[in-house]
């Protein structure tokens, strides 16, 4: 079998970069909308902040799982 292309090295790090795109966009939306909601209705600050942090934590988990991957799989075969 002939190899046409091969990628090696710390692929887990590249994976982390890819895994961070989605949560990055998600966290941006969450805090953007949260700040907007607080600006529109400052008296609901407590409830909005709580739900904002909850959404942030759920979105962030995906990026954090990606962050651990390079440490588990390391540099791989050289």
């Amino acid at each position: 079998m002939t190899l046409l292309a091969e990628v090696y090295g710390s692929i887990g790090s590249v994976g982390y970069g890819l895994a961070a795109i989605g949560p990055g966009i998600g966290i941006g939306i969450i805090f953007g909308q949260g700040v907007q909601a607080i600006a529109r209705q400052p008296e609901a600050y407590g409830v909005i902040r709580q739900n904002m942090l909850l959404g942030f934590a759920l979105a962030e988990a995906l990026a954090l799982i990606g962050f651990v991957v390079p440490f588990i799989f390391g540099a791989g075969p050289q």
Binding site: Q50, L53, L54, A61, L64, I65, F67, V68, F71
Partner: protein, 274 residues
């Protein structure tokens, strides 16, 4: 042509235990596994274990001292203790669980303050290690939470608990073929996993970040060969270390809050349905 670097050059002899020769000794996961502080027979007491015990001791002693002789008009330590208690009771339990959540206030209170103090050990001099960045500890916490809210849901709601968790109401019935497996996966399998990973990975990343900039500030500061790049790089790394230390104090408190908040959300599923 490469220039041979003498073994005694700056950067070759410091930071024992980090490989890399004379190059930049970038920290990796090995910095989390240090030699045991002391051994008692077959048991090795490592730094995270020791810090965990110290953290527990601080929490127990402080709150015993604060609430030992409670007064009607609180002063000093009792004031602080009551502030913390009210933060959990009014800020988390009343808003998230509502009625029927009062009995969980001590549970959430213990979790919040223990995780907070353990996260704070990351920036406290001499300690400078968050025990929550060892995966075993968040896993233990998440399992305690998991084996609290799932049995409590069955006790409180009976079989209706499974119905509310797996079959959300107000949906046309053919959707259940699609939705029920997803709900099962996300509510009972992924939930405890992400609950633990979220706390662990945050503290793990924070500790690695602080270590990287601390080593960079030291490594680039080379008195033997003065260079502008080295001085600027070293000063920049030190500045980043200072900023990130403040950031990590914030992250430590935030992660403790989020862990407690999510625990409250899971408990509210058990108390009053999904």
């Amino acid at each position: 042509m490469t220039v041979a670097i003498p073994e005694t050059a700056w950067g070759c002899q410091f930071v024992p235990g980090l490989e890399g020769g004379c190059g930049f000794p970038a920290p990796n996961a090995s910095i989390f596994f240090t030699d045991p502080v002391f051994s008692l027979g077959p048991f090795n007491f490592t730094k995270p274990m020791l810090l965990l015990w110290i953290g527990v001791a601080i929490i127990v002693i402080f709150f015993l001292y604060a609430f030992m002789r409670p007064k009607l008009v609180p002063r000093g330590a009792q004031n602080l203790g009551e502030l913390g208690y009210l933060f959990i009771r009014d800020g988390i339990v009343k808003d998230v669980i509502g009625k029927g959540g009062t009995k969980f206030v001590p549970f959430l209170f213990s979790f919040f303050f223990l995780i907070w103090i353990l996260n704070l050990f990351e920036v406290i001099p001499v300690a400078q290690f968050p025990p929550t960045s060892m995966f075993a500890l968040p896993v233990a916490f998440a399992l305690i939470v998991y084996f609290t809210w799932v049995p409590y849901g069955f006790i409180k709601q009976g079989p209706g608990f499974l119905k509310s968790m797996l079959f959300p109401s107000g949906i046309p019935w053919p959707m259940y073929f699609l939705l029920t497996p997803i709900e099962l996966l996300s509510n009972f399998i992924v939930r405890p996993f992400t609950h633990a990973v979220r706390l662990f990975a945050n503290m793990f990343a924070g500790h690695l970040l602080l270590t990287t900039f601390a080593i960079a500030a030291w490594y680039l500061f080379n008195p033997a060969s003065f260079s502008v790049v080295g001085v600027v790089g070293s000063a920049g790394s030190f500045l980043m270390l200072t900023i990130l230390t403040a950031f990590e104090i914030l992250i430590g408190a935030l992660q403790a809050y989020i862990f407690t908040l999510l625990t409250a959300v899971y408990l509210s599923d058990a108390v009053s349905g999904h």
